[in-house]
Symmetry: C2
């Protein structure tokens, strides 16, 4: 038997698109002792978490709760609970996570209609609406902010069109909720999923989601009660339209999150403590103030990157405010730069996926990581590392440009 | 905007079949700051967790890692990754969690052959083997310890027969791993799943599992690479035999847990810290010593319950050592007793499901909750609450009988 050492976590500044740093208040709360899943102290915590989630997700929906899994568990829960064999699903994809929606919808048995655009741009809503009318899908599934390309898709026009055409709009808002405006109800989003490890600044492992009664109607039609929870003498419906997953079956999950508390899984106690405290911090800060903080740090970072002499990737008009994509200068080994940032400075930035791997760096400004100190230190360290990689930069100017922004701006809502 | 109070967790002694109390060392470790998912400090933590898991699961399998979700996420990951449309699956079910296996296998598209026995008993291995030969399934899926009835199924004979007949044996060992002997390799188990919130004594939210190369072979045949991770120019295989879930696709998860680190989800950082420390505590204690501790506390609890004048539910020969099921005396409101235990003493015990609800109480002795102090206090409190419910008990005798066990036994391995 080999015994291993106790965990030793080195100090890190995490400037990736997630997982990001977590407010120590969240970690302290997570060190509270365990409560049983049916303990009234715990079930009221579940209810209060739902209340807070509704506020952060800007919705009046009754259903707003986390799925116990990372973000894509929430996305799959939403899609597999709604999509039935051969349902038409339209997916306008502008990056890796549109690809993920496609992959999941296909595995759910959907007939997927894929729209693509070049990575680095987004869709003209008119083009999506045109396709919507042509395809007449049951569901339009779309990413709000795709971290792989650092772009954000305007959704309001598309949302209105979906409602008018009686199409369900399901949105992956993992990269945007609590970092920039996401108006679930105002934008007519029927189902929305987010994750804990980005702008919510809670450790990875939960996927909060919300949906309205248009989606709930489908869930109730497809619902069955789990074998073993009912007396064996009762007949099980075993509907033809049964949801393919048990773990990710929202019709059963909502019973667990309702006063019936019909047992499904065992809620992830400590993660829920963390989510509760993370949401509390967000609401204390205030959504508008929080969005403004994210904008300010983004502005400072962008100013610093450009002053240094680097260029940004993608269509600036649709830049995702929580991720900044930087073109890797010709001839530079992007991974070597990232490695040196981590090894020498304890600062982490990200690469990207698929066609963009080796082409761009991605710097996140999300949640608790999104603070002046982190932005300034990242710029200073990046300059030093680029110099070591023999890249010509405008020495000293990056940090100065960012400081200018901070010193000349008061955070305004 | 309504602001809510900070989390306040009341003191609890948790004597249910999970979630159970957690060693403060685990919670302290979980309050460590976040590491990025590709940070070498984090990926080596992933590797060391795999190493420790192999030891706790008593296997030489290469693949041993957690799924980021509660126990049933692990069960569904295993079943949906192995089972294909119309595969024959034999499920001998002796409680609620056999029902869960059935439910999940059906949703995977399996042709399920269900064997049932009365709740409170288990199967004669010979009967299972007879059915195995008749049905010739691809998979035999079975629960090791079913907490709903408090029974444990002997597996070794069945395991040998499965290997001989070339049937895959998949075992839900959620209630037994780290509390009583589970020999993955020696019993010829091909795939085994456990959960964190029972005898591992880590908060709920992860499902460690292991599987051998017989299962890996199927995974590799069904594997596909996620859209968005490969260049769009490459063809996607989109195999006919594609696994229905993305989140629970073990063929993709094992790439994430391999040196390739092909991105799938974002690993649940803080939960992994907890699992690492929880496994470390188990291996420090030593598996044999730990099993002996569980046996001792079970003996004391059983002695106390019987001395008090209560009777145990089910076939004693196949009692699950980590859960003790007590018949609720006639005319007593079982839920009222549980409520009073919680409200007045801060002690939680469980009811059961389906046909056993209102018939039995279930008292867990699992992991960190499984300690002398907890057993003695639970017996004392239960006596007091039963007296308040006008139940005739042998006053004072329960605790004395348990104390006798503790004072006359040295923990032997």
């Amino acid at each position: 038997m080999q015994l291993v050492n106790r965990l030793q976590v080195p100090a890190r500044t995490i400037m990736t698109p997630g997982p990001v740093e977590v407010d120590p208040r969240v970690l302290q709360t997570m060190s509270s002792s365990i409560l049983g899943q049916f303990d009234p102290s715990f079930t009221s915590l579940m209810n209060e978490t739902m209340n807070q989630l509704r506020q952060v997700l800007q919705t009046k929906n009754h259903w707003a709760y986390p799925v116990d899994g990372t973000s894509r568990a929430g996305i799959e829960a939403m899609l597999c609970s709604v999509i039935e064999e051969e349902d038409k699903v339209l997916i306008p994809s502008f990056g890796r996570f549109g690809g993920l929606l496609t992959e999941i919808a296909e595995r759910c048995g959907a007939e997927v209609y894929l729209m693509s655009c070049e990575w680095g741009s987004v869709f003209d809503p008119e083009d999506v609406i045109k396709e919507l009318k042509k395809v007449q899908p049951k569901v339009l599934a779309m990413v709000h902010g795709d971290t792989s390309t650092g772009r954000m898709q305007p959704l309001q026009e598309i949302g209105y069109a979906c409602r008018e055409l009686d199409v369900l709009l399901i949105v992956d808002a993992v990269a945007t909720v609590a970092g920039t405006e996401v108006k679930t109800d105002d934008w007519k989003i029927d189902g929305l999923i987010t994750g804990t490890q980005k702008c919510l600044s809670v450790p990875a492992g939960m996927a909060p989601l919300t949906y309205n009664n248009r989606i709930e109607k489908i869930l109730l039609e497809r619902k069955s009660i789990e074998k073993g929870l009912i007396s064996p003498s009762l007949t099980l419906s075993g509907s033809e339209r049964r949801i393919r997953s048990n773990y990710l079956d929202l019709s059963q999950l909502q019973d667990y999150w309702s006063p019936a508390r019909l047992n499904h899984h065992t809620e992830a106690t400590t993660m829920l403590y963390g989510l509760y405290e993370g949401l509390r911090i967000i609401l204390e800060e205030g959504l508008e103030v929080r969005y403004a903080r994210h904008r300010l740090n983004e502005r400072a970072l962008v100013a610093g990157i450009e002053a240094m002499g680097l260029s940004l990737f993608g269509d600036h008009q649709f830049k995702l405010p929580t991720v900044t994509c930087v073109n890797i200068p010709d001839g530079v080994d992007g991974d070597s730069v990232r490695m040196m940032l981590l090894d020498e400075f304890g600062i982490e930035i990200a690469s990207s996926f698929g066609p963009l791997h080796g082409k761009i760096w991605r710097i996140g400004t999300m949640g608790y990581s999104c603070q002046q100190r982190n932005v300034l230190l990242t710029l200073a360290a990046l300059e030093a590392v680029l110099l070591r990689h023999k890249v010509k930069v405008n020495t000293g100017e990056g940090v100065q440009a960012a400081l200018d922004i901070y010193q000349n701006t008061s955070v305004t809502v």
